[in-house]
């Protein structure tokens, strides 16, 4: 092995230009893989974050309002370890009325200490404060304009079922989603409980997950803990299109990576095959001097391995450099990167590892060729 390594190293260093070209070839392949991989996982992460990052990922409802929700939440939390936050919510529909102006609203009651873990209302607040007292509310900025409201005003919530309630405006929020800004009115749970008049009940329990793609497993765990009298829905059940979009992205990313690997393998393989031809004279000499066939083939396997190591390291550096430049130069008008790349050490190591294995495998056919090379052919052909 030591001799084969020495010879491989010398063969590579004595043909510096060729070696550099191969290493650059591998490096470009690896860097494209690292860059595309980081780009697509960044893209997916930002897509997931913007679509379901501030929403309930598993929602539990029942046919009637849920009375014993505190103990239910305790049961849910102990049924699985895939939950980051659980919060009770109470939602009713009606109209917001300010004098002659009226809009359909979704009136949502929250326990803000936990609800902020999902909806981040504290960060979305554009004016005033979050409501803390019963009958205090905050509205989406769309409603502020359409109902012509400002902080300190009162507005009437009107419902054919529950009648009219006067509410105090303490804040406005901007969720960056038109449908929410134009419809949501948020308040402490007690406001809605007072309007509905069924006591300490809620309409649903919402939660977010650590591993969002394990939602169905988590749903099963919860169902087996709380029983099937409850309806449990997960974000993937409600977002089949998003899910197939994400899958499509993953597959296209995989395809790109496979083609990059294939081109790296073909490149190395063909260059090493030429190298075997170039070195057939040397191999003949070594064989005449008694080198064993398996050691002769190791020379080329090691050449592939060495090229792979340097190519992978350089490629990772290139890829990181490319990613860094992308986040510095491809910017939104506000100065944030168009796509926040997701640099995943595991993925980078995997890309490097694949390049290394691919380079070594690419050297396999030249190695077999060199092992089969007959001395006598070389001697006879000079």
């Amino acid at each position: 092995m030591k001799l084969a390594f020495q010879i491989a190293k010398r063969f590579l260093t004595s043909a510096k230009r060729q070696t550099i070209v191969i290493i650059l070839g591998i490096a470009i392949g690896v860097s494209v893989q690292v860059f595309i991989g980081s780009l697509i996982s960044g893209l997916q992460a930002s897509l997931i974050d913007s679509t379901i990052g501030s929403r309930s990922q598993i929602t539990i409802t029942a046919d009637a309002n849920i009375a014993n929700y505190d103990s239910l939440i305790t049961d849910i939390e102990s049924s699985t370890d895939n939950i980051t936050v659980v919060t009770p919510t109470f939602t009713i529909a009606g109209s917001g009325v300010n004098g002659s102006l009226s809009e359909n609203v979704v009136f949502r009651g929250f326990d803000f200490t936990t609800a902020n873990g999902i909806y981040k209302f504290d960060e979305l607040l554009s004016e005033g404060n979050l409501p803390t007292n019963t009958n205090d509310i905050a509205l989406g900025v769309g409603l502020k304009d359409s109902l012509n409201l400002s902080i300190g005003d009162t507005v009437t919530f009107s419902s054919p079922v529950y009648g009219d309630t006067t509410l105090n405006i303490v804040g406005f929020f901007d969720a960056k989603v038109l449908a929410i800004n134009d419809a949501w009115v948020i308040t402490p749970l007690t406001t809605i409980q007072g309007i509905v008049g069924e006591g300490n009940v809620v309409s649903s329990i919402e939660m977010q997950l650590k591993e969002i793609f394990n939602d169905v497993t988590t749903k099963d765990e919860i169902l087996s803990a709380i029983g099937s009298t409850y309806n449990v829905t997960t974000w993937t059940e409600e977002n089949q299109e998003l899910l197939s979009g994400l899958n499509g992205q993953s597959i296209s990313s995989l395809m790109i990576q496979i083609f990059v690997i294939v081109s790296v393998v073909l490149g190395i393989s063909s260059v090493l095959a030429i190298s075997v031809l170039q070195k057939s004279r040397q191999l003949g000499i070594l064989k005449a001097m008694g080198i064993q066939d398996k050691d002769a083939s190791k020379i080329f396997l090691l050449e592939g391995f060495i090229l792979g190591i340097f190519g992978a390291i350089l490629g990772i550096l290139f890829g990181l450099g490319l990613s860094y430049m992308f986040t510095k130069f491809a910017l939104n008008p506000d100065g944030t990167p168009v796509i926040a790349l997701q640099i995943d050490a595991g993925f980078i190591a995997l890309s490097g590892g694949i390049a290394l294995v691919a380079s070594t495998l690419a050297a396999l056919s030249p190695a077999i060729k060199s092992s089969k090379l007959s001395v006598i052919e070389v001697i006879r052909n000079g």
């Binding site: 000499i285 070594l286 005449a288 001097m289 008694g290 000079g382």
Partner: protein, 230 residues
Amino acid sequence: MADILTLQNINKTYGEKTKNPNQVLFDLNLSIEEHSFNSIIGQSGSGKSTLLNIIGTLDKPTSGNLLLKGKNITSFNKNELADIRNQQIGFIFQFHYLLPEFTALENVLMPYKISKQPLTKEIEDRANELLDLVGLGNFKKSLANNLSGGQQQRVAIARALINNPSLVLADEPTGNLDSDTTEKVYELLRQINQKFKTTFIIITHDRHIAEKTDRIIEIKDGRIYMDITK
């Protein structure tokens, strides 16, 4: 003196399975004594190089036996033959065949490294001595490519001797050298034969050179035509 090498009824046919098989050696019988200095002469196409390749285990005879130090090695497998080439036989070729990527000293040490023994001070000293012996003490660190033809051939001689082989096979070792250098190389081979008691078989088409050896074997049309011991 005992025979180091015995050839029994060696036949060699190229393209055996084709329509026009070409037999180049016919029932050849030959014994070479230990420590002797021999030449094989013959015109090109006479089969002398084929014979040397068979003796050197680089090629296999179609039939017949090859005995090295009394042991029949005809049926040895590739790895066993590689070991024999490494340990028992030194090769010197017309086109010297050094590894151009390595220095003179590294080339000389290569057969030893192939034997996978640990590199010792003794073996490095031996390599240096051999390079001194062939008059290349000042070129040890030169890349093989940067040496002249004669110098490269002398490195090849030192390389052939590093593992202390009992037999050195030389195929037209001075074929592409000028007459002065040719003379020096032969003197060197003779000197080594006397100093290390190494058996030499030298192939040449040059009668003038053959006459300087102790035994001349002439091959003609694949058969031994003449065998003279001085």
